[in-house]
């Protein structure tokens, strides 16, 4: 038992001593891991904030159903209640005939047009929003068909063009998000593994000497794994720090444009849990990187 403890202690000590003794190499590895994680982190931060844009974008998405001109506001309310039961509908807002007139008056040239008219010629309409799941061209198409059959509904403006655009942008963001994320993570993993392997190349003869004096594979490798993990942790902390600095420095420049895209949503930095995750990712990268390098090592 005590022997195992002694060996464990020795291994950990070796990891630290190794770090100190190969300070140059270790520092460079840590910096490289930091840079790679910084890139991944910056991307993640963008994605996190993009969610706000998407949410706002999809809130705007609605179908307008124009009712027949002879439907009065009460009848409109009844129809609205029926529409609300249709599957996929989130909310139905009734725009009464008076409100329609008001809105029309606000449009340029509208007031002039209304000059010669006594009675309100505008129909009431329903603004229908969909549950998140159905905010697709297909979902809207289905809804439009369902509405078209209802009595009292004159015309459905399902804004397919708008919807199509939304669907396209969403798919673009999703696909390129996954693609960039995957590529960036893979690149990071490769860069980190390469960096650590180069560090080990520089100390290959140490590994060999240890093996020659009777050290087991575990004894030889554990310090390098510990070292790699520590480098990863340092890299992760680095990355979080630089990211934060970049966030502080760049936000004033970007705020002007972002406020437009994000609407009222305020751009935000990672929270504590996410920072911890970044550092943990660094540790995992460092560990896996050294493991991969050591597995590739021939002894």
């Amino acid at each position: 038992m005590s022997r195992v403890f002694v060996i464990l202690f020795t291994l950990f000590r070796s990891g630290i001593v190794g770090l100190r003794s190969a300070a140059g190499t270790a520092l460079i590895s840590a910096v490289t891991i930091g840079i790679a994680l910084f890139l991944v982190g910056a991307f993640a931060l963008t994605i996190v904030n993009m969610e706000g844009v998407q949410a706002r974008f999809s809130q705007k998405l609605s179908v307008t159903a124009y009712l027949e001109t002879d439907v009065d506001d009460e009848a409109a309310l009844e129809i609205a209640e029926r529409v609300a039961t249709v599957e996929g509908v989130e909310q139905v807002t009734v725009v009464g005939r008076d409100e329609a007139l008001e809105r029309f008056r606000g449009m340029s040239g509208g007031a002039a047009l209304l000059e010669g008219i006594e009675e309100n010629p505008l129909p009431a309409s329903l603004e229908i929003t969909l549950v998140n799941l159905n905010r697709t061209p297909q979902g809207l198409g289905i809804l439009a068909t369902a509405l078209d059959g209802l009595p009292g509904i004159d015309e459905v403006a399902d804004g397919r063009e708008w919807i199509d655009g939304y669907a396209r942008v969403t798919s673009l963001v999703r696909v390129s998000g996954v693609a960039i994320g995957t590529i960036l993570s893979l690149a990071t993993l490769l860069i980190v593994a390469n960096t650590i392997r180069l560090g080990i190349y520089a100390r290959e003869n140490e590994l060999e000497i240890l093996a020659l004096v009777g050290a087991s594979r575990t004894f030889v490798r554990t310090p390098f794994l510990i070292e790699g993990t520590l480098q990863g942790v340092v890299g992760g902390i680095w990355a979080a720090l630089i990211l934060w600095l970049a966030y502080l420095l760049l936000m004033p420049q970007l705020e002007y444009g972002l406020m437009f895209l994000l609407g009222n949503a305020v751009p935000r930095f990672f929270n504590g849990g996410e920072i911890f995750f970044l550092v943990a990712a660094g540790a995992a990268l460092g560990f896996l990187g050294s493991l991969a390098s050591l597995l590739g090592w021939r002894r």
Partner: protein, 241 residues
């Protein structure tokens, strides 16, 4: 694993080192070791001589499983070298001390750490390790340099660190490859005396050397290689030992 708990059955009277018709070539057709057979008894002190390139280092490498034989049988401490797998090699090496011809010291560790590493791999408690390291460094005359890194030492000092590392575990077998190549005659004698006293404590010692003055002075059993073949096996002039 259960290393340390499980051990190989060894008959007490069996020689710790036995080779039967062993051959080894690095380059096909050129045998570095050619049909060598020999046995070393427990506590025996043996010189291994031969010209440069005769195969001395190769023979030692075969004994601590750094190279594998092409042919023949090698039994070290009861284990068949050719059949060692997994943890077998490290656990054998922990019972064999080796002084390498090129020292093989860890460049960025202190002298002390370099010697202690041999104790670390067997898990010797810290305090015990400390005192053993100090003692062996004193025996090779380097206690005052124990904080330095190998690169700050002279050639002979580095060689003595390598010797200290091999001796500190009090191994069952000690293999020394030209251990006095960088030492002046006085120091060479001291080092050989150290190895002799290890032998009297039961360690089987095999010293590869080209220093005939040493061989002639001690008149121990001497095995001479020539082009990989065992050319001569001169028994000790005095008793066993």
């Amino acid at each position: 694993m259960a290393a340390g708990k499980v051990s190989f059955f060894e008959r007490r009277d069996e020689s710790p080192v036995r080779m039967y018709h062993v051959s080894k070539s690095y380059i096909p057709g050129q045998r570095a070791i050619d049909d060598v057979s020999m046995e070393l008894a427990k506590g025996e002190f043996v010189f291994l001589t031969g010209q440069s390139g005769a195969g001395k280092t190769t023979l030692l490498e075969l004994l601590f499983a750094d190279e594998r034989p092409d042919d023949g049988q090698i039994l070290v401490l009861g284990r068949n070298i050719a059949r060692l797998r997994g943890t077998g090699i490290p656990s054998l090496r922990r019972r064999v001390g080796v002084v390498f011809q090129d020292f093989k010291l860890l460049p960025r560790r202190s002298v002390e750490d370099n010697v202690r590493i041999a104790l670390d791999v067997v898990g010797t408690p810290r305090r015990e390790a400390r005192s053993r390291v100090f003692n062996v460094l004193r025996q090779v005359g380097l206690q005052h340099r124990r904080q330095h890194e190998p690169l700050a030492l002279s050639g002979g000092e580095q060689q003595r660190v390598a010797i200290a590392r091999a001796l500190v575990t009090e191994p069952e077998i000690l293999l020394a490859d030209e251990p006095t190549g960088n030492l002046d005659p006085d120091l060479s004698l001291e080092i050989i005396e150290l190895m002799l006293s290890a032998a009297t404590r039961g360690t089987t010692v095999l010293v590869a050397t080209h220093d005939i003055s040493l061989v002639e002075k001690y008149r121990r059993r001497t095995i001479r290689l020539d082009g990989g073949r065992l050319a001569e096996d001169t028994p000790a002039a005095g008793g066993i030992g």
